[in-house]
């Protein structure tokens, strides 16, 4: 027995389909159009607007920048200024260039620390007995669900001059050490905040590692340390790279951590952009910084990540 499908014009929602068809949309088209329209308006267009305003100059008024289009004697004039970009690369104090460089340096150093602390943790969880594994994983994820800002604040209570670490060290007659308002505190803050993001992809990779490979290596007489460096580590590289990206990328544009833990000398690009916008009310300069950051840092990373994914997909 076969049951025929009801003709498409009769279902309960037929009126909706007809209405949509009248404006040239199918149901399928609507599913695509709604998120596409939203993302175009609130993600792609804003980037265009930033680029436009980065070509204006600071002015006193509301909004505080010059008009790109002006009408004079009935003709429309387009005035574009490259001065913001020129200033970013030629500022006599090199403040912007230095901020870019130190953001990359701080993000890179923190990523190395995250690897050194996170790798043994991910490995230990992947090798833990079944009943322990889920609990340990939960303990890694739990801090991520609590507020990032509050965790950075908690860390500042730990590192400050009269903080927990120095009070503990004082019991043994050591210290006090100045940890707050240094680059060191920023490294600690980044590792502390992003460690779960490093551990999770690496864990997913390590847990899939075939134990028979390790046994074979041991049977052939390799010491555990040799087995680790010639089998486990190379096979887990995709996990290490994926996790490192999740630390490195957000760390570059970080604002909260350098503001709460870093000193006046810790000039990261996110903080410079913030000051340019809020303290100096120089919106066009801040916009130019955003575009430079996008072109110098974000787009190369996205392309690199895509190439990396292609390599991993190809290997499968």
């Amino acid at each position: 027995m076969t049951r025929a499908a009801p003709p498409p014009s009769q279902g309960r929602l037929a009126w909706l389909r007809r209405a949509l068809a009248a404006v040239g949309l199918s149901g399928r088209g609507l599913v695509i159009a709604a998120p596409a329209a939203w993302l175009t308006l609130f993600f792609l267009v804003p980037l265009g607007v930033v680029f436009g305003i980065s070509l204006a100059t600071k002015e006193f008024g509301q909004p505080p920048y010059s008009d790109l289009l002006t009408t004079e004697d009935g003709t429309v004039q387009l005035t574009l200024h490259l001065s913001n970009y020129i200033r970013i690369f030629t500022d006599p104090s090199n403040i912007y260039i230095n901020a870019f460089l130190s953001s990359i340096r701080i993000a890179a150093v923190s990523t190395v620390f995250a690897i050194l602390i996170g790798y043994p943790m991910a490995y230990a969880i992947a090798r833990a007995p079944d009943r322990w594994r889920n609990i340990l994983l939960m303990l890694v994820i739990l801090p991520f669900w609590t507020s990032f800002l509050l965790r950075v604040y908690a860390l500042s209570g730990f590192l400050r001059g009269e903080g927990v670490i120095n009070n503990t060290l004082a019991v043994f007659g050591l210290g006090p050490f100045t940890m707050m308002q240094t680059d060191f505190a920023v490294y600690v803050g980044i590792v502390y905040s992003y460690l779960p993001f490093f551990i999770l992809p690496l864990y997913t990779n390590l847990v899939k590692l075939d134990p028979s490979l390790l046994e074979a290596s041991a049977d052939l007489g390799a010491r555990p340390i040799r087995t680790f460096f010639s089998i486990t580590l190379p096979l887990s590289m995709p996990g290490v790279i994926a996790g490192s990206m999740l630390v490195f990328i957000p760390a570059i544009g970080e604002f909260v951590i350098p503001s709460l833990l870093g000193g006046p000398g810790t000039q990261m690009i996110g903080r410079i952009l913030w000051d340019e916008f809020f303290s100096k009310t120089n919106w066009p300069r801040a916009a130019a910084l955003a575009i430079s950051m996008l072109v110098i840092v974000v787009i190369p990373i996205m392309l690199m990540q895509r190439a990396q994914n292609a390599v991993v997909e190809g290997r499968r």
């Binding site: 009801p6 279902g11 609130f42 908690a154 927990v164 955003a290």
Partner: protein, 270 residues
């Protein structure tokens, strides 16, 4: 070899100590009688009384919860539509562009997203008069946008995992695509929708940078208030609030994990 036996547990313990010691000390010192916070001088709930009396923190908490709930719901709808389009629709014009656009907010630094949306709202206001000024509405629009990206990722991976033959069977039996979605697809991806919504809710509740750019006078969210308080040093009432938030979140995550473990144990038995 004996070294491996202690190295891994030791390394993992040090790592977990690093993750938890600052949080635990924050919780403990929220019950400190001394306003200096880091010097213990006896048990007190003074910080909680300060929190209750604070003119800014509780209203901001309420505002942030509302913004997070609305933003997460908008993001849930948009993100689910986006995930369905990307996973279930075979090929359409602009598919690669949509995939790239929806994943870009995941790697976009907050400062760029924030300034871009603010400049958009300012430009829109001068061109079409909407949105009128900045405030709760603009924060919701901004949060919905970046949360959509996260919901899409979560729902996408669930959709890609499950068997399409169920949907095809329903389709063969004459169900319309809309009916198939609500009767078959939706119940199957429901867990992903719940975690996607919770993720979006958490991210919205936690956002400082984007909200600072797009908010207006009178619409300071909780992270903005906390940031302005802790920027100058320790604030006992923030410790109290943090302890409450950590308590709620921790019990939620622990309960969800226990539920998940029971569920998978039951599946194994069946």
């Amino acid at each position: 070899m004996g070294r491996n036996r202690w190295f891994l547990p030791l390394a993992a313990s040090v790592g977990f100590l690093f993750l938890y010691a600052p949080i635990l000390s924050l919780v403990i010192f929220s019950f400190n009688a001394n306003r200096l916070v880091t010097v213990w001088s006896g048990f007190s709930t003074q910080a909680y009384a300060d929190l209750w009396a604070d003119p800014q923190l509780l209203p901001a908490t309420w505002l942030s919860l509302q913004i997070a709930a609305v933003s997460a719901t908008i993001a849930l709808v948009l993100g689910t539509l986006c995930a369905v389009a990307l996973v279930r629709f075979r090929r359409f014009r602009g598919k690669t562009v949509l995939q790239a656009t929806v994943s870009a907010p995941l790697v976009m630094p907050d400062v760029i997203t924030g300034i871009a949306l603010l400049l958009l709202f300012v430009t829109m206001q001068s061109l079409i008069g909407w949105p009128q000024g900045r405030g709760v509405l603009t924060i919701i629009l901004a949060h919905s946008t970046f949360c959509t990206a996260y919901v899409t990722v979560v729902v996408q991976s669930r959709l890609a995992d499950f068997d399409m033959s169920l949907e095809e069977a329903a389709m063969d039996l004459g169900a319309s695509p809309v009916r198939v979605f609500f009767d078959i697809t939706l119940p199957i991806i429901a867990p992903a929708l719940v975690s996607g919504w919770l993720l979006a809710f958490t991210l919205s509740l936690d956002d400082l940078v984007i909200a600072s750019f797009v908010s207006g006078p009178g619409s300071s969210t909780l992270p903005m208030i906390i940031f302005s308080k802790v920027r100058l040093g320790v604030a006992p009432e923030v410790n109290a609030l943090a302890t409450i938030i950590i308590g709620v979140v921790a019990s939620g995550v622990v309960l969800a994990t226990i539920y998940g473990l029971r569920q998978s144990a039951r599946e194994k038995q069946a």
